[in-house]
């Protein structure tokens, strides 16, 4: 007689993918349009990873920040149930407030997370085209004390030359996890690559090893970036190979 009868629950493990999207005024037009399109198109791919992955199901949460910040939904949704509501661009860049808000939700008691047993570390993708207009350092300091954030896969996408890559590197913990894009197609492609790679690696069982999941994601995205025209690793020392083209 099995001990796993109807009185025993064995839930699937969960990995949550967070999008943090800059919706300040400078994102208006083609940039925000590309972000909306790219996320809509990547959701079915995340669903497929979730459905075919025996290790964990993938949930998605999205936080937009401009003058203040706002969650698209008040809980993470399964990838196949996430209905993207096109975000609009206007206002300032409250990245510090967004960091604080993310910190609030990266907890079990008051936030989006479940028990650490049965969860994988989250993946967080930050997209921005500018520099914070609020107290980013204070928000980030708070976030850096959070265990979920410490363990998370963190990748940032710098949209254009005006994005403050130093700030994004502070967020991810390394400038190797910051990728710059210079045109619409590159932006769409990099969102897909980063979201899919983070979800694939983040939702797989692994044991304590020497290569962190973040390092694995960085390595795979760096390889992919070589084949995306208009995208590059932000650390490139010999200057950018591309000029911004957002028309």
């Amino acid at each position: 007689m099995s001990l796993l009868d109807e009185t025993v629950s064995v839930p699937r493990r969960t990995m949550t993918l967070f999008f943090m999207i800059d919706t300040s005024g400078s994102m208006a037009g083609s940039k925000i349009g590309a972000v909306n399109d790219a996320v809509v198109n990547v959701l079915p791919m995340l669903d497929e990873i979730s459905v075919t992955n025996p290790d964990a199901e993938i949930k998605v949460a999205a936080l937009e920040f401009s003058t203040g910040c706002n969650w698209l939904y008040n809980e993470p949704k399964l990838a196949n149930e996430f209905v993207w509501q096109d975000v609009q661009a206007n206002g300032l860049t409250s990245l510090g407030a967004a960091c604080e808000e993310l910190e609030n939700k990266l907890s079990r008691s008051k936030g989006f997370m479940q028990s650490a047993s049965g969860s994988f570390a989250p993946a967080i993708i930050l997209l921005s085209d500018g520099a914070p207009t609020d107290n980013f350092e204070a928000g980030l300091a708070k976030l850096k004390g959070n265990n979920w954030f410490k363990s998370a896969i963190k990748v940032a996408i710098a949209i254009g030359d005006d994005a403050d890559k130093e700030v994004l590197a502070k967020f991810t913990g390394t400038n190797e996890a910051v990728f710059t894009v210079h045109n619409i197609d590159a932006l769409k492609q990099i969102i897909r690559v980063v979201a899919v790679t983070s979800s694939q690696i983040g939702s797989k069982s692994s044991t304590a090893g020497d290569t962190t999941k973040q390092d694995q994601v960085i390595s795979e995205v760096q390889n992919a970036v070589d084949n995306i025209d208009g995208a590059e690793v932000a650390t490139k020392v010999d200057g950018s190979s591309y000029a911004d083209d957002w028309d």
Binding site: S2, L3, T7, V8, S9, Q85, F120, N147, S151, A208
Partner: protein
């Protein structure tokens, strides 16, 4: 008193042809000294002999504990109330130092001895066992170099450890790293007797291979006559399979009930069959379990174990009922509106999804509840019912989306009933 233990290769280790890195042990001697140990060797390429490290740690703990118990002045324990001691590193972080009794010095000596002997044993093993062909093929160059030079050798063999020890007059338990140690008392109340270490989070854990491992031991003891009815030790492969801690506890309750109803042999066979299945369905990790229990006390506590399960199931149903009521209010409110905003259409869809999912969850919980009610009250039990009830059939609907599945153009369709 009786005991058992079992460890098995995890599903992900089978897939990658990696050996089981867990090890377990349990024994009760003629004087009533019961020992249960679980050690979990680290995964990752760096820790390519952690299976050996876990086995050594288990054997060394068993030997050292026997020596400790038979040589220590037992008056150190006798009369002591239930006492939990955090890792010294935690005390340093909190600036709250509590290890001041002779018993604390005794534990420190025990732990120092375990670490010291483990280090000697792995050094000897490394010296006696050059890299195998398989290790040569699989291990990255930098780790081979470390192995050959002896630098960071303990990392290569690293593991976590936990132990429960019971004598006729007192008991104690200690833990270094992750995994869970759960105890049950006569009232079927469960407890995690050894304090948790917050540094163990997701796949990060403290370890016997840490440079300050001696300061990372947490321990608990009691010598005032109070004893657990049953204690279960499980590696993190176990608790990662169950998510919420009450699910893990519920599984142990299921095992405890089986020990009483089906007997030791049948239950142990079931455990051996279940753990590989659990690894496949759950964490994919290696699995280990060790248990010490008082047969008579467990038998007496059986009805209370069932009542505990009924209580947590009831709590689950109430939580789901609240979700149903809240989502139904949301849906009804939206249905009264003419929905022109995209946002409202999405909200309506989510409300209906939430209702459907909550009713499905409730069905499973009610099924579980009825099994438990029958177990407790017998065949004449009254099946569970409540005011919220089941989902009205006319309201069972599913969403189908048009050709752009992740955007907001939505169509209602009736579910086939």
């Amino acid at each position: 008193m009786r005991c058992f233990d079992f460890h098995c290769q995890g599903e992900s280790h089978k897939a990658t042809n990696k050996v089981c890195q867990d090890y377990s042990y349990s024994h009760i001697d003629e004087n009533g000294l019961a020992i249960a140990v679980v050690c979990d060797g680290h995964g990752g390429k760096h820790y390519f002999r952690s299976d050996v490290g876990a086995r050594f740690a288990t054997e060394i703990i068993a030997n050292n504990v026997k020596e400790f118990v038979y040589n220590i002045d037992e008056t150190l324990f006798v009369g002591q109330p239930f006492t939990q001691q955090a890792a010294i590193q935690t005390e340093i972080d909190r600036q709250d130092f509590r290890k001041e009794k002779p018993i604390d010095n005794a534990f420190r000596q025990l732990f120092a001895s375990i670490i010291g002997q483990w280090q000697q044993r792995i050094e000897q093993h490394a010296s006696d066992n050059p890299l195998t062909e398989k290790e040569n093929e699989q291990v990255e160059e930098q780790y081979k170099k470390e192995f050959l030079s002896g630098y960071k050798l303990e990392k290569i063999y690293g593991c976590t450890l936990m132990a429960y020890v019971s004598t006729p007059k007192y008991w104690f338990a200690f833990h270094l790293g992750d995994g869970k140690l759960i105890s049950f008392d006569q009232e079927a109340q469960w407890n995690e007797p050894v304090l948790w270490d917050d540094r163990c989070f997701l796949n990060k854990t403290t370890s016997i291979c840490d440079s300050d491992a001696l300061n990372e031991f947490r321990y608990t003891y009691q010598g005032d006559g109070g004893f657990p009815v049953a204690v279960f030790l499980g590696s993190d492969g176990m608790d990662d399979s169950f998510g919420e801690e009450t699910n893990l506890v519920n599984f142990y309750v299921r095992v405890a009930k089986s020990l009483v109803k089906d007997g030791f042999d049948a239950t142990f066979t079931d455990v051996k069959e279940t753990l590989p299945v659990l690894s496949k369905r759950g964490s994919q990790d290696d699995m280990s379990i060790a248990c010490v229990y008082d047969e008579e006390a467990l038998k007496e506590a059986l009805p209370k174990f069932i009542l505990w399960q009924i209580a947590i199931t009831k709590a689950g149903i109430l939580k789901v009922n609240n979700k149903i009521l809240e989502a139904t209010d949301r849906r009804n409110e939206l249905e009264e509106k003419v929905l022109t905003l995209e946002k409202d259409k999405i909200a309506l869809r989510y409300a209906q999804n939430d209702i459907d999912r909550a009713y499905t969850e409730k069905q499973q919980l009610v099924k579980k509840m009825n099994v438990l009610l029958e177990e407790y009250y017998g065949k004449d039990f009254v099946p569970y019912q409540d005011e919220v009830g089941e989902q009205p059939k006319e309201r069972q609907q599913v969403w189908r989306m048009d050709d752009h599945p992740f955007r907001v153009h939505l169509v209602w369709v009736e579910k086939e009933l």
